[in-house]
């Protein structure tokens, strides 16, 4: 038999590598280098993405405001003199606007500020168009304010805010018909006088969206609430249905052509483009079932359809991963199948199921395309009501709000859109962290 064995060099030394070993080592080194390069490319892309989003979007979390003392003459705001709310509502923002402009002009005069070439239009355009509405809302909420003077901080125009954040400069203002250099000088002077300041902008996460003309007032309140409602619907519907389906298919269903067909279809559903689910939702939930457009209930139902395959697949994988010895142990002492599953298999599969569910939810949270088709792209300024009625109220959603703001002309909306992306990412990070924590918490050895 010895002559079959390949000839080797008489005495190979362990201290020198032969050609074959060198080739194998080189192949391994190359493979490691490719892997490392791929990881580095991924990290670089992530850093660039985060830097660009943070660089553009962090500004949305601060806002420039001017604190003014405004006279509220009863003669103009409450013609009846009875503080009757219905009468007071007749005074529109057109009445309130000049009051604020007058207050601004008084403040300039009081502090002896002189700005060259500041026109009347510059003065009225210095503040946000939203500020009159803010003041009116405050007065209508508390009619006793009429007849006295109130101190309130008002949003400044988006361009002035952009100047404070460095987006607008003197050079760009000269070419921009929406802002004049005189307004920017005024902003500098007011800041020196201590009544103009840039601070944390809570309204960005609580206020509703605002029109194209008022980027400074636009907020994510309605979108966050709408997204939260949809996630609630998705969780309530898809978790029990998905887990029950997976348990049935994995543990009870007979193995035949029908169950094979169902399994193949579930796997395929997970890969269906999301916009197709939007068309389905439009046809079934809105056109056929007659549910309202732009409502979280419809968005939630559509996203549930999208999330179900993810949860079913994750749950089945988790059930499969439970060692069969646990099932045998339970069946061997006379537990019924359902007892074995609910007492032993399901608790062990729980971390996997919860992780799958949260990842499915996170995916649903970021989904935009199907929501566009069911009308969630509409401009909604009213907060939806409390659930369950609120599920039927029109609302927006976080990713759709991002889509919406990137469409708008004013450059200030670029900042808003990036800010909304940051909020969306924060929610995704929270959900993924929760998935990891739940996994760690429930994971048990067997």
């Amino acid at each position: 038999m010895t002559d079959v064995i390949a000839e080797r060099p008489a005495k190979p030394s362990l201290l020198t590598l032969d050609a074959r070993t060198r080739r194998r080592n080189a192949a391994e080194a190359r493979f490691r280098a490719y892997g490392l390069a791929a990881v580095m490319a991924g990290i670089v892309a992530l850093v660039v993405l985060l830097a660009s989003v943070l660089g553009n979007g962090l500004g949305a979390f601060t806002q420039t405001r001017v604190t003014l003392q405004v006279e509220l003459p009863a003669a103009k705001l409450d013609k009846s003199g009875t503080r009757d709310i219905e009468v007071m509502k007749k005074a529109t923002t057109l009445t309130y606007g000049p009051l604020i402009t007058a207050a601004l002009s008084a403040a300039i005069k009081d502090r002896g500020i002189v700005v060259e070439g500041l026109s009347k239009k510059d003065l009225s355009g210095f503040l946000s168009k939203e500020s009159a509405a803010q003041l009116r809302d405050r007065v209508l909420a508390d009619p006793r304010l009429v007849g006295a003077a109130v101190t309130q901080s008002f949003l400044v125009n988006g361009r002035i805010d952009g100047y404070e954040k460095g987006r607008v400069t003197m050079q760009s203002a000269e070419k921009d018909s929406n802002v004049s250099p005189a307004q920017l000088h005024l902003a500098d002077a007011l800041e020196t006088a201590g009544i103009l300041h840039t601070g944390f902008n809570r309204d960005f996460v609580t206020a509703p969206d605002a029109s194209d003309q008022r980027p400074e007032a636009a907020g994510l309140g309605v979108a966050i609430l709408g997204s939260a409602y949809m996630m609630l619907i998705v969780l309530i519907l898809s978790l029990p249905i998905g887990v029950a389906t997976a348990i049935y298919l994995e543990e009870f269903a007979p193995q035949n052509r029908w169950t094979d067909l169902i399994e193949v279809n579930i796997s395929n559903l997970a890969a269906v483009p999301s916009i197709v689910f939007g068309i389905l939702g439009l046809a079934i939930f809105i056109n056929f079932a007659g549910l309202p457009q732009s409502a979280p209930i419809v968005g939630g139902l559509v996203l549930t359809l999208m999330t179900l395959p993810t949860i079913i697949i994750a749950t089945r994988a988790a059930l499969k991963a439970v060692p069969p010895s646990i099932r045998d142990a339970a069946l061997g002492i006379g537990a019924s199948k359902i007892q074995a599953i609910f007492h032993h298999v399901l608790p062990l599969a729980m971390p996997g199921i919860m992780t799958g569910a949260i990842i499915g939810l996170a995916q649903a949270l970021g989904e935009t395309a199907p929501l566009l088709l069911i009308g969630m792209v509409a401009f909604v300024r009213d907060y939806p009501g409390a659930p369950p009625e609120g599920f039927f109220d029109p609302s927006s959603a976080l990713p759709v709000q991002v889509f919406n703001w990137t469409q708008r002309a004013d450059p200030a909306f670029v900042e808003r859109a990036s800010g909304a992306i940051i909020v969306l990412l924060v929610f995704l990070v929270i959900m993924n962290t929760a998935a990891i924590l739940i996994r760690r918490r429930f994971e048990r050895r067997w």
Partner: protein, 265 residues
Amino acid sequence: MNDMRLEERIVQNDKIKIDAQDVQVFYGDNHAIKDVSVAIEDKTVTAFIGPSGCGKSTFLRCLNRMNDTVAGCRVEGRITLDGEDIYDKRVDPVQLRARVGMVFQKPNPFPKSIYDNVAYGPKIHGLVRGKAEMDEVVESALKRAALWKEVKDRLQAPGTGLSGGQQQRLCIARAIATAPEVLLMDEPASALDPIATAQIEELIDELRTRFAVVIVTHSMQQAARVSQKTAFFHLGNLVEYGETGQIFTTPRDPRTESYITGRIG
């Protein structure tokens, strides 16, 4: 194979507990068990021996219908427990398994506390009323499984934290807590070291006073040490079945002799 104790082991009771007649088992097209007929006596340890893949575990799993859970498995023939056909349509395998308990090759405690492991069977079968009674059942099951002294101070500790031998005794305690009539053991000591194995074997001998015990084993020494009756399986056939002493000293079939002397298997 001259175990001295063989002579002392008189079968005390020759009442038939499980009677299997012409049992055939098919896995799809594979004919795994062919024409096996065995009468298992009460209060006796019956050992199934044979080379790997000879069907002894498959046959054991027929006795409490654990094969029902295997897709594509079909059992023919007649197996009776106390004269009742266990494959009758009216029989619920869950009720059967409460009376015919099983211990598996690999220790498989539930990832719960020691107490909950033992209490699970009595709980789902509604055998006890109240916490005090359950405590008693758990204690007596653990005592009979010779585990009580080692775990009595940590009943709430996880069962998976015990050593391999302790885990297997916990599984035996879990099986006997449901008060079965027959205890099936599928190579219960194959994953254990010699000391743990000796403890399990001693335990099996004690269990015999209360139950019929059927044990599948790869170790002929083990079969000789613990059993009163031995059945030798080969390629799906039952080759020989008889008193353990007779099988190991004067086997009738040449295949049995080859196996116990180490020429096949």
